[in-house]
């Protein structure tokens, strides 16, 4: 198994509150991995540590064998190799949908405007929102905004796509369209690590599930194993509480 991303002993505290207390994980190429765990278990923090939005207190991270926690690493260049989608979309309200999607291509990857726009339109076509290209994000529904946010994240072909509870802020009837897009991306071979509370979706699309609890990966394995035969009491409680 060829690893894209590997983390070893990640630690992170906010003030005196420890959040991550030694998280280790590995993501293989084309793998879809789901992160589950109670609220406050550090799922979001872990995702933000992985693409260096937060600096870890200890531990190491390798992106294709390169130590990205090395202080000499070019943080912006590393982040550009990740895509991330946030719970609250975080689209730029002062830009059109198309500009949101093409910003990184134009500014970070220095693609010519026309080329970036063409690719951006193709992406919007794919998510079924090409008609909204020149609208501003606040004219779109939550589900549409989140699909645009996903398009923005994948517009530059990231090596790893991080999804941070991307359906938690959506109305139930809008969740489906977003998950459908994620399902498609997974099928197409995008390497995905997602934090989610959508257990049935996690079971259906993931190759592997990690249960984050007490600041560490408490249990991991294929979805069938974790959901059907949880080994730890904590995971049983967590899954039981959801059903």
């Amino acid at each position: 198994m060829s690893g894209v991303l590997r983390a070893e002993g990640l630690r992170k505290s906010f003030g005196r509150t420890p959040v991550l207390q030694g998280v280790s994980l590995e993501l293989a190429e084309h793998e879809v991995v789901t992160l589950i765990g109670p609220s406050g278990s550090g799922k979001s923090t872990l995702l933000r540590c992985l693409n260096l939005l937060e600096r870890v207190d200890d531990g190491q991270l390798w992106l294709r064998g390169e130590d990205i926690t090395d202080p000499r690493a070019d943080v912006d260049a590393v982040r550009a190799r990740f895509g991330i989608v946030f719970q609250h979309f975080n689209l730029f309200p002062h830009m059109t949908v198309l500009d949101n999607v093409t910003l990184a291509a134009r500014v970070v990857h220095r693609a010519p405007r026309a080329e970036a726009a063409e690719r951006g339109r193709a992406l919007l076509e794919r998510i079924g929102l090409v008609g909204k290209a020149d609208e501003h994000p606040d004219r779109l529904s939550g589900g549409q905004q989140q699909r645009v946010a996903i398009a923005r994240a994948i517009a530059t072909d990231p090596e790893v796509l991080l999804l941070d509870e991307i359906t938690s802020a959506l109305d139930p009837q809008l969740v489906g369209e977003v998950l459908e897009l994620v399902r498609e991306l997974g099928r197409d071979g995008t390497t995905i690590l997602m934090a989610t509370h959508e257990m049935s979706f996690a079971r259906e699309v993931s190759d592997r599930v990690l249960f984050l609890d007490g600041g560490v990966v408490a249990e991991s394995g294929p979805p069938a194993q974790l959901f059907e035969a949880p080994r730890s009491e904590r995971l049983r409680e967590f899954l039981g509480g959801l059903l």
Partner: protein, 286 residues
């Protein structure tokens, strides 16, 4: 679950910290060195100008400094008094004007228009002209038997001018508070006024604090303009002392005093802004 107290940084982390420390020390050293070089170059340039000896004599004369200090300082105390009263006045008037400008509904049109006209007029008028109009115009009306103190007239002029600026800053803050906050407060049954006072204004003030501090610092030195009315403040006192000693050192004294007054406020503003930023970023962590 491992005990967080038992955690000791790994060698890798210690190495990273050492590297970052070296980098920080390095950039501090480079910064300090370049600052010193720059300061020395500027100093040498000034000292070697042909007129330096004369300028030093007439702007930085120790004897004049000692002589003029008591008068200038006494004048400066007047500046501080005027500043405190003017700041209090601005706080009241600006909030009132900002509140008027955010009133909705056709009934309030006259009040809204009045408030808008006031801010337009006094933001457009140079402070010095307002000072002349108030300082010489109001006494000219002679509606009191006794003489109105110049300091009071100067304070009124400052309040009129600065309230116009500050009310606009406050209005921007009020409008930057999301309408859902007002809705939530009205839904609880709070009146319009209470909604403004208990929910909207506290949030608005937090948003515009740096801009307000900026206006306050600006007012601290514009207080010196009341000297044009003849009130013996630091600037006026310096002018008198300059005429006596035939050198400009008293003005330097006044300048130093104004800077010393402003510095704590400027530092406080930076500190406050940093604190707000830290608090807002904490909200982003989930």
């Amino acid at each position: 679950m491992s005990d967080p107290e038992a955690w000791r940084p790994s060698d890798v982390e210690l190495g990273r910290r050492a590297f970052r420390r070296r980098q920080t020390v390095g950039s501090v050293l480079v910064g300090a060195a370049s600052t010193i070089v720059f300061a020395v170059v500027v100093w040498l340039l000034v000292v070697n100008t042909p007129g330096w000896a004369r300028v030093q004599q007439s702007f930085f004369n120790p004897e004049t400094w000692v002589q003029a200090w008591p008068r200038v300082f006494e004048g400066f105390l007047l500046n501080i008094r005027v500043l405190l009263f003017a700041a209090a006045g601005v706080a009241v008037v600006a909030v009132a004007v900002a509140a008027l400008r955010t009133l909705r509904g056709p009934v309030f049109f006259p009040l809204r228009a009045l408030a808008a006209g006031y801010t337009d007029l006094f933001r457009g008028l140079p402070l010095i002209i307002v000072l002349y109009l108030i300082g010489f115009g109001i006494p000219g009306l002679r509606f009191t038997e006794t003489r109105i103190p110049l300091e009071l007239l100067g304070t009124i002029a400052l309040v009129l001018t600065y309230s116009a600026y500050v009310s606009e800053v406050l209005r921007a803050g009020i409008e930057a508070v999301h309408p859902s906050q007002s809705l939530a407060a009205r839904a609880l049954g709070l009146s319009r006024g209470r909604t403004l006072r208990l929910v909207v204004l506290p949030q608005a003030l937090r948003k515009v604090t740096p801009a307000l501090m900026n206006d306050f610092v600006s007012m601290q030195k514009d207080v010196g303009l009341i000297s044009v009315l003849g009130a013996v403040d630091a600037v006026r006192a310096a002018q008198i002392e300059t005429a006596k000693a035939f050198d400009f050192t008293p003005y330097v004294i006044a300048g130093v005093l104004f800077v010393l007054l402003a510095l704590p406020m400027i530092r406080f503003t930076d500190w406050w802004a940093a604190r707000l930023r830290a608090r807002e970023q904490q909200g982003a962590i989930a």
